[in-house]
């Protein structure tokens, strides 16, 4: 008898139900999704605030943090214009990568495409800025920027379409090519070999509509509408979606997959090119340097994904990213946390880690092991 009892005990010990299991949610009401998202946002904000308070070591800093976070973007009129401008650039690059991502073409070269385009625009100013009238210069800048952006996107697209090379590595490498090219030209053009260029002088259309930076936001709003319509109502948009979902289906209904890949990447590159054009020409002091895009080509990937490739959602996500960047760096500046962007990156990291994690909880439900003694 005792032997048998022991055996039973050991089986129970040996075999236990797994601690928790993940269950995919099939349908979750929309309100619940938003409750989860807003709650996540609140938790992220509190975590960031606590971290800030901890670093400063003063309890009062908790409230200050949120004040600074807000005033980074909306503290003064000028900051709001800068916020708008930053939003415009972020939005434009996010829009650029979206058609490619919808096609499952992992274009992580938006940074390089934008920088190459900016170089194109700067090139026009440097060589023709003094000799031609301003409108012609600006027009030439636009052409050069679009050309460079498209070229930088076209190369990996052709290699992918014709030889099946890996687009992720290719577009990534093209970033470095663009950075080195900019480096080269900056050294070439810099007065006395100082390695930096200040204001190029000509080619700025800043203040076109009377208000500072507003022209960039207006142009990007137009681009947003174009991309939205293109993706949703154009045959092209439909084709690239089919290619993204299944190359086999695309072939089955007779879509020329190579053509779609190349065409979509040209568009993607052109929008990046436009962003590069705005970065140079839309500034009151047009200039070029390797940090001009400042990693936004990569952040745009995140923005595009988080908005699930919807241009409408992207408006808000891009705004959120810029808001956090501006606010966090304002907070870190006001407490002299150093000139580097380290602190603002930590804050942004906290927010996005949590936002991405919350999408997981929207998709899955966690079920824990039932209590013993059933």
């Amino acid at each position: 008898m005792t032997v048998k009892n022991e055996a039973v005990v050991s089986t129970v010990k040996r075999h236990k139900e797994p601690l928790f299991r993940l269950i995919k949610r099939t349908d979750i009401p929309i309100w619940k999704k938003w409750v989860i998202r807003i709650a996540t946002f609140a938790v992220a904000a509190i975590t960031a605030g606590l971290l800030f308070t901890f670093i400063i070591g003063d309890g009062a800093a908790f409230g200050t943090f949120f004040k600074e976070l807000w005033s980074g973007s909306f503290g003064t009129e000028r900051l709001t214009y800068i916020f708008l401008n930053n939003w415009a650039i972020m939005m434009c690059i996010s829009l650029a990568v979206t058609p490619a991502f919808k096609m499952r073409f992992w274009n992580i070269g938006a940074e390089g495409q934008t920088l190459a385009a900016a170089l194109g625009a700067a090139f026009v100013i440097h060589y023709f800025g003094k000799s031609l009238i301003e409108p012609v210069v600006i027009l030439l800048m636009l052409v050069a920027a679009l050309f460079m952006g498209m070229l930088w996107a076209l190369l990996p697209a052709i290699f992918k379409a014709v030889w099946g090379t890996n687009e992720t590595l290719f577009t990534l490498m093209m970033n470095y090519v663009a950075i080195q090219l900019v480096n080269f030209f900056v050294n070439l053009w810099s007065p006395g070999g100082s390695g930096t260029i200040g204001n190029l002088g000509n080619g700025s259309f800043h203040g076109l509509f009377g208000l500072p930076y507003i022209q960039n936001a207006v142009f990007v709003a137009i681009v947003t509408i174009i991309v939205f319509v293109y993706l949703k109502f154009f045959k092209h948009g439909y084709e690239l979606e089919v290619v993204g979902e299944s190359v086999n289906t695309a072939k089955y209904i007779g879509i020329n997959v190579k053509k779609v890949i190349i065409r979509t990447m040209i568009l993607s590159g052109a929008v990046c090119g436009f962003a590069g054009f705005l970065l140079v020409g839309g500034s009151p002091t047009p200039t070029i340097n390797t940090g001009l895009v400042g990693g936004r080509g990569f952040t745009a990937i995140l923005v595009s994904w988080l908005s699930k490739f919807s241009p409408i959602a992207m408006i808000f996500v891009a705004a959120l990213v810029v808001f956090l960047q501006k606010g966090a760096s304002q907070a870190s500046d006001s407490f002299h946390l150093g000139a580097s962007s380290a602190f603002s990156n930590i804050i942004i990291g906290i927010f996005f880690l949590m936002i991405i994690a919350c999408e997981f909880f929207i998709d899955y439900q966690i079920k824990f092991r039932k209590k013993e003694g059933k």
């Binding site: 089986t11 129970v12 040996r14 075999h15 236990k16 139900e17 797994p18 299991r21 269950i23 995919k24 949610r25 099939t26 349908d27 109502f233 154009f234 045959k235 092209h236 948009g237 439909y238 084709e239 979606e241 089919v242 979902e245 299944s246 086999n248 289906t249 072939k251 089955y252 209904i253 007779g254 439900q365």
Partner: protein, 570 residues
């Protein structure tokens, strides 16, 4: 005869999100019997079996093995309880031999130097030495024995890992005991599907399984191979093993099993003795209502040649001939069936006709009924070119959600796959596709929350209705369907057969690639049999015998067969 319970399930429930895969299922399996688990697709058969062999864990309920409660958390636990499953998709290493695959992953029996040493000391302690010389000798002996232990372990390891002869002997023993016909030194990639299945079964037996679960083992076999498999299963049963066989083919249930357990929508409906039931009663239990299992077959009328394939050859990526000198004609008002073991060139044939597959030689000719049967050459044309030539060719591919439809798109956008180029200017037209989608949902009774639902959320049968509906809506003159009822429940299957028959009566040349020979014989007017990329025969659907087709599927007739075997030998 006394029956002992080998396996018992009590009140098993398993849910995936909102979907209830199994609900309060009770099941008993006796020693020395073959139990058929019958149910339509999606009725929860595989889920239930996966819980027995440790792939899933039940939400509720208990499993008893040999009378004792067992908690099976992993396939390892299942092995320990002597439960083995042969999955639908084989899990074998291609470049290994059969024997290697069987012994793969087996661990050496535990051999601990420490414990063996303790044992040796304990054994030596029984000896009471008297003389000092004896004492020294005793010490030396023990020391020698202890220091040899690590080497013994290494020796055992070498013997186990590299000299697998003893284990091969055990495998041979098993295979001769049950009458397996297999060469253990053959590599998996050289094997036919049926041989691979045999290896899977031997693998499970080698691990000492007393309860064997086979998931749709007959789906990929020819009638002759099925007979062989059944003979082996019977021998195993007589040897005292318990076998569960999952299937949805009624004639096989009747032929092989002692008892049948029927599942419907995840619930256990009944378990009956096979001898006391018939196919009709089983269908009724399975579907939940009476159903007519006869397929109507109208006499073809106004038969004309519509599509002729002549000496078609297709070379696949590996440089092998996927199709070799294939010739046939599909006629209007007729259903031409294509039979063959999976991968005999069916896919390549249909894709070559549809313009999706590069061809190496031959002719594909279409006779346009709108132009007085004028000849149109379809060779080396892209799908768009074929469409532009006015050829109304519809194709229901085998891979529904990977080729025929886009799973993440809704019904309307899936309709657009065929019509999006028709939109005005650069814009797509969603109005007509929407009407078409609503039309199909209504006419074919597609169960969907709406036409804006992504098709991947629909059940298999409804997905297929959407696809077939779209292809038929194009008013085709040639309709090709590859395995259109695979994975469908009985009702949906009959809807599809009915649709194909309707098209036939409309004068469409229908080409139907199927795997169920009974259906092919009932549905088709003529049946073309493919074997390794060659046409091994074309038989009349009326009066064709399953066994004959089965033979054609595995070997080529006449002189060609000799050539083929020589080639294979090389």
């Amino acid at each position: 005869m006394e029956k002992t319970v080998a396996l018992e399930l009590k009140n098993i429930t398993k849910t995936f999100g909102e979907v209830v895969a199994n609900k309060n299922v009770d099941l008993e399996l006796y020693r020395g019997e073959i139990l058929s688990l019958l149910g339509e697709n999606g009725s929860g058969k595989t889920t239930l079996m996966n819980m027995i062999c440790g792939i899933y864990f039940p939400d509720e309920g208990e499993i008893f093995v040999g009378g004792e409660e067992a908690v099976i958390r992993s396939p390892k636990d299942a092995f320990a309880l002597k439960i083995g499953m042969i999955h639908q998709h084989f899990k074998l290493v291609d470049i290994f031999t059969a024997a290697d695959n069987v012994i793969l992953g087996e661990h050496m029996p535990r051999y601990s130097v420490k414990e063996e040493g303790k044992k040796a000391i304990a054994a030596a302690n029984g000896f009471k030495p008297v003389k000092p010389a004896e004492k020294i000798l005793w010490g030396l002996k023990l020391g020698l024995k202890l220091s040899a232990l690590p080497f013994i372990k290494i020796g055992k390891k070498i013997k186990f890992d590299y000299l697998a002869k003893s284990r091969t002997r055990k495998i041979t023993e098993i295979s001769s005991r049950y009458g397996f016909d297999i060469d253990l030194k053959k590599k998996i990639y050289d094997m036919s599907v049926s041989e691979k299945q045999t290896v899977e079964i031997i693998k499970v037996l080698y691990r000492g399984a007393e309860i064997l679960i086979l998931d749709e083992p007959t789906a990929v076999l020819t009638p002759q191979e099925i007979d062989k498999l059944f003979a082996i299963l019977r021998r195993m049963r007589d040897d005292g093993k318990s076998i569960i066989i999952i299937t949805h083919k009624l004639n096989e249930v009747m032929a092989i099993s002692d008892r049948v357990a029927v599942l419907r929508k995840g619930e256990h409906i009944a378990t009956v003795n096979t001898a006391e039931t018939d196919e009709k009663a089983l269908t009724e239990m399975m579907v939940g209502k009476k159903i007519d299992l006869n397929i109507e077959r109208a006499e073809p009328n106004d038969v004309k040649d519509r599509l002729t394939v002549r000496n078609l050859t297709v070379i696949n990526r590996d440089g092998m001939k996927a199709l070799d000198d294939v010739s046939f004609t599909a006629r209007s008002g007729e259903i031409l069936g294509i039979a063959g073991i999976a991968g005999s060139g069916q896919r390549e044939l249909l894709e070559a006709i549809a313009g999706l597959q590069k061809t190496a030689g031959g002719d594909i000719l279409y006779f346009d009924p709108n132009k007085e049967d004028a000849e149109v050459d379809l060779m080396q044309k892209t799908p768009v070119e074929i469409r532009d030539l006015g050829v109304r060719l519809s194709f229901v591919p085998e891979d529904r959600l990977g080729m025929g439809l886009v799973g993440n798109m809704d019904l309307v956008d899936n309709m657009m796959l065929r019509s999006y180029t028709k939109g005005r200017f650069v814009f797509v037209d969603r109005k007509n596709p929407k009407e078409l989608a609503e039309h199909i949902v209504h006419d074919l009774e597609v169960v969907t929350p709406g036409v804006r639902t992504p098709v991947r959320k629909l059940s298999g049968g409804n997905v297929q209705k959407v696809l077939v509906g779209r292809e038929i809506a194009a008013a085709p003159t040639v309709l090709m369907a590859a395995y259109p009822v695979r994975g469908l429940d009985i009702n949906s299957s009959y809807t599809i057969y009915h649709l194909l028959n309707q098209q036939k009566e409309k004068g469409v040349a229908v080409i139907y690639v199927g795997e169920d020979l009974d259906v092919l014989i009932d549905l088709c007017d003529r049946i073309l049999v493919l074997c390794a990329g060659k046409v091994s025969g074309i038989v009349d659907g009326r009066g064709a015998k399953k066994e004959d087709i089965g033979l054609l599927m595995t070997k080529l007739t006449g002189k060609e067969a000799d050539g083929e075997t020589k080639e294979a030998a090389l």
